[in-house]
């Protein structure tokens, strides 16, 4: 076929033209290099944030409701929430007694404390007080040992579960089971290690924690704090109904008259997701504007260089036309040249952004440039190659052969 021979030839011409004018080609491609670097880095970063978010959000549990004094991302004034009555264990017990559509319910309280083992000490370990049902409610797996039992929970035994950060901080390769650690100034026996959870949005570790029976927590650290009640719904698909049920039971427990407003929040993962999506779509829009702008600037630069290139090669175009090049042939020749410049720029952009993504991965966010981002980068480069080359190529194609031959 004619066209393949022409396209192949066009690549050779493009290669010669570009290498014959290296500096100019590099300068022309600079805008695209920057644009593609920005596009791919942004996509990679968003991908990384998404991954971090997905793995973090798992810890919240899609089918778990959290009854708390505060609403996540609530719209009321902070004062309104703060002035609400605390949620206490009576509310928990009331809920647990009456709820039909939940498979497990557990209360939690928590605060950061210093934890010690021998001469080793860890600051700001999050100490959680809860019941044995917590494991089922939020779906924790135990790495070593076991979760504490209902007897230990109800009896307020001095036993604890530790997260992997605490385990690594204290025990290295030692078996932590049966060891005595100090939470504040009180001794607890380690009965289990919780499987590694990772971090919440890369902000704080979910493994830097100690879980103890809630009754013990109250006894040692006081009762003047609001409880969060975690409720695992029977069926994720009926989460809304469970939510309604929880609300009506809580209203009874809190003795809210008909028509009165809820003085508690029933929180769920979806609230996180909604807020997250709003946030990332904002980031995406801003990113798109910035990268779009740099790509357009790059594209104008390339179009400019292509116009110059066409002008310089007017005579060559005349010669080619005189010996049989069609309009299409000339058009393809210059389009391919501009696509090659843009693709080259895109590849350089990828070569810059790929190592940066590795650095981000190592120091900030767990991320890796997905293949589709690479493909997208190349596709965008190609698109801008065609876009920037179109008018110069069209101009070249419709040049008059006689006048072009006369051009010096």
């Amino acid at each position: 076929m004619n066209i393949f021979v022409e396209i192949k030839e066009s690549f050779i011409i493009a290669y010669n033209a570009i290498t014959g004018n290296k500096m100019r080609s590099i300068l022309a491609a600079l805008g695209i290099v920057i644009g593609i670097t920005a596009v791919t880095l942004m996509q990679t970063a968003i991908e990384g944030i998404n991954r971090a978010f997905e793995s973090s959000i798992g810890a919240i549990g899609a089918d778990v409701l959290y009854v708390q004094k505060f609403e996540w991302f609530g719209k009321e004034d902070f004062e309104v929430y703060r002035n609400r009555k605390d949620i206490n264990l009576q509310h928990y017990e009331f809920l647990k007694k009456y709820i039909q559509s939940a498979s497990s319910v557990s209360p939690t309280v928590g605060s950061p404390r210093t934890v010690q083992y021998g001469s080793l000490s860890l600051e700001s370990v999050f100490v959680i007080g809860t019941t044995e049902e917590y494991q089922k409610t939020v779906g924790l797996n135990v790495d070593e040992g076991r979760f504490f039992t209902s007897k230990e929970s109800e009896g307020g035994y001095p036993v604890c579960m530790i997260g992997t950060d605490v385990k690594n901080g204290f025990f290295n390769n030692m078996n932590p089971i049966g060891k005595i650690i100090k939470v504040g100034s009180y001794s607890f026996r380690v009965v289990g290690v919780i499987e590694k959870q990772g971090s919440m949005l890369g902000l704080f570790s979910l493994d830097n924690r100690v879980i103890i029976p809630i009754t013990k927590f109250y006894k040692l650290f006081g009762t003047r704090r609001s409880v969060s009640i975690n409720i695992k719904a029977n069926d994720l698909n009926n989460l809304e109904e469970t939510k309604e049920e929880v609300k009506s039971i809580m209203r009874k427990a809190r003795k809210i008259p008909a028509g009165g407003r809820d003085d508690f929040g029933v929180n769920e993962q979806a609230a996180f997701k909604d807020t997250y999506n709003q946030l990332t779509s904002l980031i995406k829009v801003i990113g798109l504007l910035i990268t779009g702008l740099s790509l357009i600037v790059g594209s104008v630069g390339i179009a400019n260089i292509m116009f110059v290139s066409v002008k310089e090669r007017t005579k060559e175009i005349g010669i080619r036309k005189a010996i049989g090049a069609r309009r299409r042939t000339i058009m393809i020749q210059f389009l391919i040249e501009s696509v090659v410049i843009c693709l080259g720029g895109g590849m350089i952009g990828l070569m810059i952004s790929f190592p940066i993504s590795l650095i981000i991965d190592a120091f900030a966010l767990p991320t890796a440039m997905p293949l589709w981002v690479v493909v997208l980068g190349l596709f965008i480069s190609m698109f801008f190659g065609v876009l920037s080359g179109f008018f110069p190529a069209y101009n070249a194609a419709k040049l008059d052969p006689v006048e072009s031959l006369r051009y010096e």
Partner: protein, 231 residues
Amino acid sequence: MSTIIDIKNITKLYEMGTEKLYALKGVDVVIERNEYVAIMGPSGSGKSTLMNIIGCLDTPTSGDYVLNGKDVHEMDDDELAEIRNKEIGFVFQTFNLLPRSNALHNVELPLIYSGLSKTARIKRAEESLANVGLADRMKHKPNELSGGQRQRVAVARALVNNPSIILADEPTGNLDTKTGEEIMALFAELNKKGNTIILVTHEEDIAKHANRIIKIRDGMIESDTYQTARH
């Protein structure tokens, strides 16, 4: 003999702003296959304009042109390109080779536009270069060749697609007498093999190679005479 070029009452008008200039003022020419025609005339008389129209590089302002039985007036841009590629071989005074390509690639170029495969192209380009005596200069770029050699490359390029007509616009204008004669000998040979040759020149010595001399003045044919070619 059969007619290959049939031109009737062709004009070419150049408009520069308000100024109008007729480069051709109604030219009639009929050229038969295998003729060897020299077009002569003073500078600015319209020789190149006529050649460009014959070669389908340019279109007349008015008049009819039938090439090989086909009405050129009705052809679109792509068809004209194809005619230039397959039917016509151009040789210019200034050679018009691609400066960055070597001799072989310059000669190969028309075959690329015909869509020939790489191996077929190389084979034919090599043959064509060998025919003009440049078998040992294929990899040379134009600036590594003498003027005569460059014009031979241009002739090889013009011949590579076996065109029926060779159009040469002052092909010896940039060459010394000796190399000019060599190129003319090449043309004589081509004419013997059956090619139609139309040549623009203002040198009597060059024109003597042709069978027919058309003299142009001020965009009109002044005389049209047949002669016996002397080589």
